[in-house]
Symmetry: C2
């Protein structure tokens, strides 16, 4: 027997419809790539998204088509998302910080038909254009007055192109399980993998994100996602803020301390979110200038572990509540937030900071377990650590055009590649990582790719790359090499050799030459042993 | 192209699984029907619900079966819900305040197989037993020590019956669109109508209920639903509290001011919910005794309009924030909550009370519109009123075994029977009712049924019943009669005639004899004209 409830598919455009109808005049403020601040509201965003959908429709974009964006957090970027969503097409956010070859690989793998690009990233697109096999046209997110010369053959100016349509359009009917968005992660070994969000997963994730023990979004909030939209859905905020009717403040291309503070202050932002590296820059700016944060109530910090000193500084010096969050691209991305339960409600000072170092507990919709290497569940005692695995409606069941199921167990749990313990109150804390990647300033660096490049050097017999703690970037790569017999590779010759073969910011911060690298029985490099051996290593780049 | 996200059906037992795993030791405190306070937690509730599911399964209850409850808010009632849900069977909450014949009618219409009943209501069941056509067995929610003599032929004592199974059971796999619960509403004309909730609608509704601008439930909250579980899912709290991991305090059979205050205080309740009549009793008790509400932070008031003086008293005298809420059985039931948006954030005093008299704005998942009588949409200007219609995933699409589609328009919107205006900020305010029913102390009284009984009186030519404002019950029925020629029906003879034909609390508070009742062109009684004519009428029962 079925329920007798209305059939109301969970499609993303319903979120925008809701915001436009119930919070139509609520502001969306963007710092534009061109410079000035731009102000609009949800009712207008919806009109522009309808217009874009009509324009895309007349161009021939349809259900299931992928369209790439290389863009900052601005309202134009959001228009593109919702315009595509309203056709059943798929927004594919590409991370502009990747090495150009990787960007080309990803766009080709996704078979994106169009590419919407901010002025900032036009040079990248020009550079990789010959490699792009499926892009039919590049749309530059600007107006005619700001459009530069370009070598691209098939290009349109966003505002002109958009103006060719009016907003008299209705969202297409698509099921809630249709693909909605796509984001490649390099947080795994091997080629980047495409996570494909559905309308349903995005909507459920936004609902989950909004609840009080997660982000706790109210219509009264003014929310600034500093975390880029190209990082796993901007931690849900392009959906959860309109769902809650909260105002949005979008920082565009400027993420330095002064620019961030400027918006927080001028726009009276109440909640903001980004990786620790961004907040380090802000705190340094505040300290230097003596500025305060009178409007900001809450700061969401995740992507890497939030350092204890950062929590302390925000809470004690600026009276801003820190919400330590953990998640990943495959989780849409929010997994846990460290809200304070009744169990810990009485704590203060260092005892409270002990709790806030934890990544938090799971909301309804995220199931967690920790297991040993053969999949047996481990107890939640706050000490025993194991592989952290998750299940839920907004968690990936696989990757785009990729048959690798190795990350999923028989019960459908996804292995996050994080190693954690969970305490009896349900608070999870990450203690290590089983995946062989390094996270620097919120972005992934592939150890294996660096190793492959390094062993190409004529003097190198074997190479290993590990992440070493760094005060600003959380982790930075350290290259460890065993020289070929008789050879004496130097730090400088190695770095010079690697330069140009990977992104500049991937280059190791230091090189250590050793006689031997430890191996497992099956001949793999024992990264755990290396990480342990170099756990106290002080990088020359660490101030 | 479909998303690549996990298939994770929104079934109600996942909420309990979540609470048991992540908030396992969070308390559920019940005042028992037998008297004492009983304490348990989510982990134990889950075990007992599994045990009950196993017991029901071995009895032969299966997917799609309906099972009735006539019960107060206690943890046993919740066990029954979740036990049934875990089998794919349907909890059917029956309102014990209905006239016994109505109860029998409803249980027969639903074809309930079992009936779980609190000691309080056993006499009702004994009385209607001969009428019940489908109930195979009555399970009395008590233990052997408290089991009274009963005339019922097929009866079991809950605790003994439950003990026949252990908890080694797994929830059955059912789709999210399966029926989950059932609740008959008499808030419409004609026979009571069965609303059938699905697992999906209950889960989505609980997620919606939890967000900050709705009930804003945190794991730190201690939530007391005074609103009965048999009133439209207890306003979601049996689902939304475990979803948020909040503690539950269940008041059992006692809802007088002293008992409610006792629990609010002893159990440090932070959020509670009920109809205005309950809060009137509490406020009177507080005034009389000089007691305070040091723990309570928020009170949800709905089911009838929350009087301005009540909001003022809670907020100014007791520092408790009032959340005026509107909804209906067909809406699972929450529709709107009057949270304060940025638009009104600066208001205080009488200006703020003006806003708080409104029923509030719609969350994501509730679409509202107001229309004229031919279905044309009306503007949201805060003045123009019209029929309030709603659409959403937790709103009924029809009634159980009932083909009447008259409440639904072509776009699938459900006509609430309320008349309202909506202001530019999205705040809805109910101004009148198009349905011919009266709401007294949170319960419906059918005008038409009273009229049908009254015209049976030998002296009555025509009868009309309208609701008239009452300080305690919000509305009470006033009977207006036109005598047969030459007859002189008196108040007393009329009320004596009606007594026993309807529930005692349905009897009109007063009777007015008139020469003529106004009619529409098609010969129907013009209730609007009558309500206007008697809008200032002072009932003798109004202190
Ligand atoms: N709060 C956090 N603490 C520690 N590591 C984190 C945190 N948030 C995210 N991560 C790491 O970042 C990964 C997800 O990266 P991504 O998919 O790029 O968002 C996780 O699996 C963790 O390894």
């Amino acid at each position: 027997m079925l329920g007798l409830m209305q059939d109301w598919p969970l499609t993303c455009t319903r979120i925008l419809d809701h915001a436009a109808r119930n919070h139509g005049r609520t502001e969306i403020v963007s710092r534009t790539v061109e410079g000035p601040i731009h102000r609009t509201d949800y009712a207008s965003l919806r009109q522009r998204a309808l217009q874009l959908a009509k324009r895309l429709d007349s161009y021939g974009i349809t259900h299931g088509d992928r369209v790439a964006t290389l863009a900052w957090n601005t309202v134009r970027h959001m228009e593109v998302w919702y315009g595509l969503l309203g056709l059943g097409a798929i927004y594919h956010t590409v991370n502009p910080r990747l090495f150009p070859d990787q960007i080309a690989w990803i766009v080709n793998h996704a078979e994106d038909r169009l590419l919407f690009v901010d002025l900032t990233f036009l040079p990248i697109v020009e550079k990789i254009w010959p490699q792009l096999r499926t892009i039919e046209r590049v749309v530059v997110l600007t107006d005619a007055a700001h459009m530069p010369e370009t070598s691209l053959p098939k290009v349109a100016v966003y505002e002109d192109w958009l103006a060719e349509a009016d907003a008299d359009f209705a969202w297409k009917d698509i099921g809630e399980n249709a693909a909605a968005g796509m984001c490649y992660t390099s947080g795994t070994t091997g080629d980047p993998k495409g996570v494909v969000y559905s309308h349903r997963s995005n909507v459920l994730h936004a609902m989950t994100a909004a609840v009080p023990d997660m982000l706790g979004l109210r219509s009264r909030d003014r929310v600034m996602p500093v975390v880029p939209l190209f990082h796993a859905n901007g931690w849900s905020l392009a959906f959860s803020a309109p769902l809650a009717g909260a105002a949005l403040v979008l920082p565009g291309p400027r993420m330095d301390g002064e620019s961030i503070w400027g918006l927080l202050d001028a726009e009276r932002v109440t909640l903001t979110a980004a990786v620790p590296t961004v907040w380090l820059m802000l705190l340094q700016y505040l300290k230097k200038t003596g500025k305060a944060l009178p409007w900001l109530e809450r700061v969401v910090i995740g992507g890497s572990a939030c350092p204890r000193a950062m929590t302390k500084a925000f809470e004690e010096d600026y009276d801003v509540r820190v919400m330590h969050a953990w998640g990943m691209t495959e989780m849409s991305p929010l997994g846990t937030v460290c809200s304070i339960k009744a169990d810990y409600a009485g704590l203060a000072g260092e005892r409270l900071l002990d709790i806030q170092e934890k990544q938090g507990f799971a909301p309804f919709g995220v199931e967690m377990k920790i297991t040993d290497d053969v999949g047996r569940e481990l107890p939640w005692d706050g000490r025993t650590f194991g592989r952290l695995k998750v299940r839920g409606p907004a968690i990936a069941s696989g990757y785009f055009r990729n048959d690798d199921r190795s990350a999923f167990d028989d019960d459908g749990f996804f292995d996050t590649g994080d190693v954690a313990h969970i305490d009896p109150a349900g608070y999870m804390q990450i203690t290590d990582r089983s995946k062989d990647v390094i996270k620097s300033g919120g972005e992934w660096i592939s150890s294996i790719e660096l190793e492959n490049v390094a062993v190409g050097h004529p003097d190198v017999a074997e190479a290993a790359v590990i992440g070493v703690a760094h005060p600003r970037w959380d982790e930075r790569p350290l290259l460890i090499v065993v020289p070929k017999e008789g050879a004496r590779p130097t730090r400088d010759s190695l770095l010079a050799f690697m330069d140009g073969k990977v992104a500049k910011w991937w280059l190791p911060d230091d090189v250590v030459v050793v006689d031997e690298i430890p191996h497992t029985a099956t001949g793999k490099i024992r990264k755990t042993a290396l990480r342990e051996a170099f756990s106290g290593y002080r990088l020359p780049t660490a101030e």
